[in-house]
Amino acid sequence: MDFIKETDLPGIGRKFSASPASGGKIIIIVHDDGVREIYRYDDSDADSEVEHIVSFDDSEARKIAGILGGLAYTPKALDNARVDLKGLAIDWYKLTAPAPFIGSSIGALGIRKNIGVSIIGIIRHDGGSLVNPGPEAVLQDGDTVVMAGTREQINAFHAGARGNPQPAS
């Protein structure tokens, strides 16, 4: 059985049901307006109520996603470089001169539009970090760019950052 099941809720958003191996069921609703809600559901009891646990707005949800994805603090047991979830991946790339992206803002590069990956964080060369940077954030030499996207999109980002761009899909 799939770990995560997706269903459309036309007019509301999208529903993700996850059944962790440790039991129970978690439902995440991504609303079209950006709100994320997390619910708990006991599927062993057909009559049980779905229990609302917490709601996040868009920027809160991204921060929480960073923590769950191991970006803020990587669990010591898992030292693998990228996180893969059924074709969706989170990865990071260190920009070193003369990478073509250096000196331009995320918006000017049109990274989400042209490549498809979302930049979810930047770790500056001096150790400072930027969670969920806006389009105005400028990429600098020595930055580690943290991104989420499909494997193809991430590969396209790597290729672009190395100076040999290729189409995302």
């Binding site: 036309p10 007019g11 509301i12 191996a21 439902i27 009559d47 779905v50 609302h52 893969d84």
Partner: protein, 414 residues
């Protein structure tokens, strides 16, 4: 009157006031603005008559409202997406129609209404307000419930039903009094226009994409609004209703990658002009004529409740939903609103019996308030009903402590 804007502005202040009341009461604006419109001149409790030019202006704002409502409806469904989920939706939709359309047709036949009135009243009775339903589910934090998938699927089915039903009704409205053969031709023509447009747009997605890939928000807005009004005018000229033109444009644009951007852009227009539409519609109805429709509206409300619950409990068997979910399902879908009024307005435009508009106003006001209220009360209702009807709470199975299955974990890591 020399002051063109004073009267119009004063009336719009009442619309704004309705909005404030609605958000305070956490209701949809639709029933509130209708009630306020009913109470105001020219037919309300005061003898004051607004100038004709003011009424014309309100009328025009309202016509724009209908365009935006249907444009937004068209934007909500992309043909590609629909085809993907067609199977389950059609089954659930047909069950819904079997209960509710049948009841509506039989009831209006018993009232001795004409064929056109029956057809229109059926639509008014069976189309839920997807806006109110979605808002209720979000407010009550029921979006994750199993029955919500069924509810929103049904709303989508109703949207499609509306898109197919509207050309029929508007063709009937336009060729009213004509021979059945003329009627069939104008219905067929309306459908042909829709199909041709949608087919072309599916084939020319690349061209459309390049047309709508406009970076400037200002230019984009101008293009979308101009196209909307022009499409409405063009379909008027083709003798299919202006509303259909707006619907078609919405469906075409839903296929492009700009869909989300357009929705974002259009919603404020839909909200403003839509409110003006509901207000203007109610403004023209006299309080006296409402009295004659009270009984009909109350019976229709009862039928709607019964039909919706029957659908809810049938679907609970089909989709494996608990009794509690079935009750939520049945009660939530009873909300009525914007599209019932759009249909009633078509009837008025076609010169159908005025009982239809008084009926629909009462029916919508009752169910736009009662629907969300009943959804909210569905839990207490369940607590009362469950022991009486023998829906025993399934005894929670004693849950053995689940050991974390090591082999499963390994699987997940890939």
């Amino acid at each position: 009157m020399e002051y063109d804007f004073l009267e119009l502005g004063a009336l719009l202040l009442f619309v704004a006031m309705s909005g404030i009341i609605a958000s305070r009461l956490k209701f949809s604006i639709v029933p509130i603005v209708i009630i306020v419109g009913l109470l105001l001149p020219p037919n309300g409790i005061t003898p004051y008559h607004p100038a004709e030019s003011t009424m014309d202006a309100i009328d025009f704002l309202g016509r724009l409202g209908v365009l935006f409502l249907l444009f937004a409806l068209g934007l909500e469904f992309s043909i590609r997406k629909l085809l993907a989920s067609a199977g389950t939706m059609v089954k659930s939709g047909l069950i819904y129609l079997a209960f509710n359309a049948t009841a509506a047709v039989l009831f209006t036949m018993l009232l001795g209404w004409g064929v056109e009135e029956i057809l229109l009243a059926t639509g008014i009775i069976i189309i839920s307000s997807s806006a109110i339903v979605a808002k209720t589910l979000v407010d009550l934090k029921r979006t994750a419930n199993p029955e919500t998938e069924v509810i929103m699927g049904l709303m989508l089915f109703q949207d499609i039903f509306m898109a197919a039903y509207l050309p029929i009704v508007s063709a009937i409205a336009i060729s009213r009094g004509g021979k059945p053969s003329e009627l069939a031709i104008s219905v067929g023509f309306a459908f042909a226009v829709i199909i041709i447009f949608v087919f072309i747009s599916l084939r020319t997605t690349k061209v459309l994409e390049s047309i709508f890939a406009i970076a400037s928000e200002e230019t984009f807005l101008l293009v979308v609004l101009a196209l909307l009004i022009f499409m409405a005018g063009a379909s008027e000229a083709l003798n299919i209703s202006e509303a259909i033109g707006a619907l078609i444009l919405g469906m075409i644009m839903a296929e492009t990658s700009q869909q989300e951007r357009i929705v974002h852009l259009v919603v404020p227009f839909r909200d403003f002009f839509g409110a003006a539409f509901f207000f203007g519609f109610a403004l023209k109805i006299s309080l006296d004529s409402l009295l004659g429709a009270v009984l009909v509206a109350v019976i229709a409300v009862a039928l709607t409740l019964a039909g919706s619950l029957a659908y809810g409990f049938t679907m609970s068997k089909v989709a494996g939903i608990s009794k509690r979910g079935a009750l939520n399902l049945g009660l939530t879908i009873t909300s009525r609103g914007e599209f019932s009024i759009v249909l009633a307005n078509l009837g008025t435009a076609a010169g159908l019996s005025s009982v239809l508009e008084s009926f629909s106003v009462l029916y919508v006001v009752i169910l736009a308030v009662l629907g969300p209220l009943l959804s909210r009360l569905s839990d207490p209702i369940y607590q009362v009903l469950a022991p009486r009807l023998g829906w025993r709470r399934e005894t929670p199975k004693s849950k053995p402590h689940k050991e974390i299955d090591a082999s499963l974990l390994k699987d997940k890591k890939e």
